[in-house]
């Protein structure tokens, strides 16, 4: 049957394939892979596995996380999956067994091998730099096996040939499907890492802003105090700003805690009858106190609006968030109108602004955790992307709905919150 060009390569390849069985014992996995890599003279090794005990892409201890040229393993895998993939079933004469192998040999001698017996490979070993001799040997082996299979096919009956071809095709299809699945998992993992990094960056920036106010404010107050001006109107002005910064930091940390709670289940609600009109007027009144002349903020009750059953603290959080968004996303100022009306057996709150709007196709993105519209990010409007996510979770826990309408960028936004009526009179 087939043979490899080099006895040395042959032995290594046999060891590589034999490793797949040995790797079936989880405790030996890293130890075995590392030992093999060292014997091959490889300076990097990644072990990718579906084993829940070793989930994800792990560098073996002592090996680098990136290729010597700076590329990530994932980028490398993507490249070799696009160019030059070799696959087939390899015979290993030393024990006469058959192993399914998908080998991806890159031009630089790097070899990616999906190892494992039927039905599906379980491991991906990436060895670098694998001896170029071995990479070439693998290519030669695959080509030889292919030629041999064709020769066998020519000599056997049509029925046997078709059965063998079908078997080979199925094996190949399984391996290709696995390669495709691995690619998808890599992309998902990459996206998760990117989202985490982006969140850390945004959260860090958002938390630093109120911290800066608190730190500077307290230090300025200390200097005023040392000069005997600690009770001056200017000191009072700074103190008020410090208090606002403390409140802002508390809100941000509360949002983060709420998100953490939601990952464990629902937010606890303390239900009672709530007058949404009163609540909206109260929240708007608080904001009017600090809005400058660029803004107008009006609350209108279109028609008697029913009471709702809800947690007043959580519903105030929703109203405050929606109103704060209207202000924040109107950096040049403008009119903000709050309308309340009865609708579909409940109370409907609309908050309209004339701000930067939401790009077409993004009205759902902004409800995702850490989801922000591209124009908001581009224009450096501060925010962690948690407010509307939390609003929707809270409103839906009240059996209500929240949705956003916007004609597009720079055309303003309307946020609508509908809550079912409590079985009481209208106000």
């Amino acid at each position: 049957m087939s043979s490899l060009n080099s006895q040395g390569s042959h032995a290594l390849l046999a060891e590589l394939v034999g490793l797949s069985r040995w790797l079936a014992v989880p405790e030996r996995r890293l130890q075995a892979a590392r030992g093999l890599a060292q014997r091959l003279g490889a300076d990097d090794l990644l072990l990718f596995t579906h084993d829940p005990e070793i989930e994800g892409v792990l560098p073996a201890p002592g090996f680098a996380r990136t290729l010597p040229d700076g590329r990530s393993w994932r980028a490398f895998l993507s490249a070799v999956q696009t160019h030059g993939t070799y696959h087939g079933e390899l015979a290993v004469p030393s024990d006469g067994s058959q192993q399914s192998v998908l080998g991806v040999a890159a031009d630089d001698g790097t070899l990616v091998v999906l190892l494992g017996g039927a039905p599906l490979p379980e491991e991906v070993l990436v060895l670098r730099p694998l001896l170029p001799m071995l990479a070439a040997a693998l290519r030669g082996e695959v080509a030889t096996r292919s030629a041999t299979a064709q020769a066998v096919l020519a000599e056997q009956s049509n029925a046997e040939a078709e059965a063998l071809a079908l078997s080979l095709d199925r094996a190949r299809a399984r391996l290709e499907a696995l390669a495709h699945e691995n690619g998808r998992l890599y992309r998902e993992a990459q996206e998760a890492v990117r989202a985490r990094d982006q969140f850390l960056s945004i959260a860090s920036h958002e938390l630093r802003t109120p911290l800066t106010g608190m730190k500077s404010g307290v230090q300025i107050l200390r200097r005023m105090h040392d000069r005997g001006e600690g009770s001056s109107p200017r000191a009072e002005q700074v103190l008020q700003r410090v208090e606002i910064a403390v409140d802002r930091l508390s809100e941000l940390t509360q949002d983060l805690l709420d998100v953490a709670s939601l990952r464990l289940g629902r937010l606890p609600l303390h239900l009672q009858s709530v007058d949404l009109v009163h609540l909206a007027k109260h929240v708007a009144g608080e904001r009017r106190e600090y809005l400058d002349a660029r803004y107008t903020l009006e609350v209108s009750v279109v028609a008697p609006t029913p009471m709702v059953l809800g947690d007043p603290t959580r519903l105030e959080q929703v109203a405050a968030n929606v109103l704060d968004n209207a202000i924040k996303y109107s950096p040049a100022g403008g009119n903000i109108s709050v309308l309340l009306e009865p609708h579909d057996g409940g109370a409907l709150l609309h908050v309209r602004d004339s701000g930067i709007g939401v790009p077409i196709g993004c009205v759902e993105t902004i409800f995702e955790p850490f989801g922000r519209a591209p124009n908001a990010q581009r224009q450096h409007v501060p925010g962690m992307g948690l407010g509307l996510f939390l609003c929707r979770q809270i409103v839906e826990q009240h059996a209500g709905r929240v949705w956003v309408e916007s004609p597009g960028e720079n055309c303003g936004t309307t946020v609508n919150v509908w809550l079912p009526a409590a079985r009481e009179k209208c106000v």
Partner: protein, 127 residues
């Protein structure tokens, strides 16, 4: 220490802007404040500061665009700029924007004073 020296303060956060303005005025500085690059450009049209304290991430006109426009219109050329930001990799932004230096938020107020004193130089030596 700063008697008569002028500082333009550009930051979109109302609290930070107001507190720093009060703190710097208490040290004897003549302070004008802007909430974004656009307001800052308008102030520079008829007022020449000795230093600019500049946040980077601001709505309407951010710090990068402000520097572009400032240079394009030849406003306050050569005036040292101190970047104050929570942005990552501030050293690179200092270089790209031709700023004198930077302070990472949250910074010490005393560090801002020391930085301003350093970048504006000793007024006696300028005369």
């Amino acid at each position: 220490m700063f008697s008569g020296r002028r500082v333009l303060l550009v930051d979109d956060d109302d609290g930070i802007r107001e507190m720093l303005a009060i703190g710097l005025q208490d040290e004897g500085l003549d302070v004008r404040a802007a909430r974004d690059g656009l307001q800052a450009l308008a102030l520079l049209a008829d007022w020449h500061p000795d230093a600019i304290v500049l946040d980077l991430m601001m709505p309407t006109m951010d710090g990068w665009m402000f520097r572009d426009e400032q240079r394009r219109h030849g406003l306050a050329p050569g005036v040292p700029v101190v970047i104050v930001s929570a942005a990552l990799d501030l050293d690179r932004h200092v270089e790209l924007l031709g700023a004198a230096t930077s302070l990472v938020k949250p910074f010490d107020f005393a560090a801002l004073l020391a930085t301003l004193q350093r970048v504006m130089g000793d007024p006696e030596s300028l005369t």
